[in-house]
Symmetry: C2
Subunit: 194 residues, 2 copies
């Protein structure tokens, strides 16, 4: 807030430098993660991309999981569809935004990376945050017609329409599959006739 950055130059200069380094390294780690997967996120590779020495990286972030955690935290908020109030359109819109995220931000690699390291406490926390944020709008929308176990089922099902082909086969569903999924879920919320 203070404009006088001459005072306490030592401390604030160091803070600013560390925080700039952190941002650079996080960005580089995210680039490696989304380009080549979490396995490629090594100190050597990230240092090279970020333009810092390996020693600098090891000093601040000694473990590979530190680099991967920074990368995922630097993703920021998950993208969401701007709701129109028409449920079918909004569900389709949300799934298309998720699909774009898989294609453009390589969210499939981020998901796999998070799953990979999930047993580590530090990553479990980040993973839950990112995924809860990712599914929050879907819960809200489907909560208009579902509750309880069917709501959990419907959210997992629609998430799965995009996530499963991406993770299992490395491709994404076309518009027809996304629309069919939404229609099955919307029709399916009626009581069973059997």
């Amino acid at each position: 807030m203070a404009s006088g950055d001459g005072s306490k130059a030592g401390d604030s200069g160091e803070d600013a430098r560390v925080s700039r380094t952190r941002a650079d390294v996080a960005r580089a780690a995210l680039e490696v993660l989304t380009t080549d997967g979490s396995d490629a996120v090594t100190h050597a590779r990230v240092a090279e991309i970020a333009g810092y020495s390996k020693t600098t990286l090891y000093t601040h972030w000694p473990a590979r999981i530190d680099l991967i955690a920074m990368a995922i935290e630097s993703l920021g908020d998950m993208p969401h569809h701007d709701r129109t109030g028409v449920l079918r359109d909004d569900l389709i819109g949300e799934l298309k935004v998720f699909r774009a995220g898989v294609l453009e931000m390589r969210l499939d690699r981020v998901l796999s990376g998070m799953a990979e390291w999930a047993s580590v406490e530090q990553m479990a926390r980040i993973r839950n945050k990112v995924n809860t944020d990712g599914q929050h709008q879907m819960y809200e929308m489907l909560g208009e017609i579902f509750s309880g176990a069917p709501l959990d089922a419907a959210v997992s099902m629609l998430t799965g329409v995009v996530a499963c082909p991406a993770i299992m086969f490395g491709n994404v569903p076309d518009d027809a599959v996304i629309e069919a999924a939404v229609d099955v879920v919307l029709n399916g919320h009626q009581p069973s006739s059997s």
Copy 2:
């Protein structure tokens, strides 16, 4: 086929030894993969678990992906539910078998590991085989009432009911969620009333 394993002892002895080593190493690699994830599958770790030298492993399988590929190939056929002919029961049964696979065989780690390395040709082939085998019975069952885009959607949706929570949150759905998902899909196959 020949019982006379004394003849050509040099060659067949060596073949048998290599194939025993391969089986041991594949088993050890799968153990590391399902216990700690694909990132932990290193020559050093697998050699230690398998009881061979790192040099032996590097000689036969120079790259880490060779070890991961062997591990996944050693999984064998995916487990499936024995069909009864009652579609609802069979879909629920198949999802419960998949859920048991996540819990017991840690198929979620296998999925993440495959996704992680998917860009490598060798892994893409294995991944497609394992996943196609995994979803084959679901396609057959849902093919009784769906076709085209809705069939693809329904298979991804039911796969997602188990796979999404496993990969995203490290947990599996309870029976109520699995049954709700199957009911939504079965109800949803009716033409939309909107």
